[in-house]
């Protein structure tokens, strides 16, 4: 399987000394086709749709590897058993989660560049990415009556 064009993420995989397998590349495809937010169940379904011969275990193993490589990050959008995996395009991701309706609002700028530098200097760590989540009410829920409305 010698592709000519290798996506940046696949490249990151290869650079880290891991094999560029069909299963991993398919999971990557599923993630990239999902708009950046997918639950493990959705990923499983999408991978199966792309290639039904790929086993569940390989999907979980790939997600685990991608997490260690900061390609992806598991997080809880809606409290539930299944985590939502978010892609970390440039090592970071930011969003607002509505605690009422579970809607996710993404935003780009976080202004954390200088904080990153400060922490690296002060703590001696090497930072490769970050996830910033805000919680609250979206514009709709903010104005809605305080009733429970999942």
């Amino acid at each position: 399987m010698s592709e000519d064009h290798i996506s940046p993420r696949a490249q990151r995989l290869r650079d880290s000394g891991h094999k560029l397998t069909h299963a991993r590349l398919t999971v990557l495809d599923a993630l990239e086709g999902g708009g950046g937010h997918m639950t493990s169940t959705e990923i499983l379904e999408q991978v199966e749709a792309l290639d039904a011969t790929i086993g569940r275990a390989s999907v979980f193993r790939a997600l685990d590897l991608f997490t260690r490589l900061s390609i992806v990050r598991p997080t809880y959008i809606h409290s539930s058993v299944t985590p939502t995996y978010v892609l970390m395009p440039d090592g970071h991701h930011h969003h607002i989660i509505c605690t009422q309706c579970s809607r996710v609002i993404e935003f780009e700028d976080c202004g954390l560049g200088s904080l990153t530098q400060t922490l690296e200097d002060r703590l001696g760590v090497r930072l490769t990415g970050h996830l910033l989540e805000f919680y609250g009410l979206c514009a709709d829920c903010r104005d809605a009556p305080p009733e429970d409305q999942d």
Copy 2:
């Protein structure tokens, strides 16, 4: 059960219109005794140690409620089935997770006050808390050989 002293978190529970039950207060005690980071399994064990008559389901129901109230936030420290619940003392929490050894380093200042305000103004949302996670290598792992050493 009419306590004279009610912790700030218990107060938040009551204010939100929920009952101050023995099960909920015990889960809160477990969380507060755990130093701010506990997996669901550890919470379950601690609650059982405090009062073995409390059922598992009530613990999960309490954690779910606390999450909706931003008293606590589930997150993945180490990729695993069980989430780690972090207390959000003043509605926010920040830490660095070492992707090599899973160590957690907390830090206080995040300087996100003005970003919060900006987002509220720009998006019309009402924000009540946030979680900021950095990923990378801690000082030890940074200097260690690049071998797998989980």
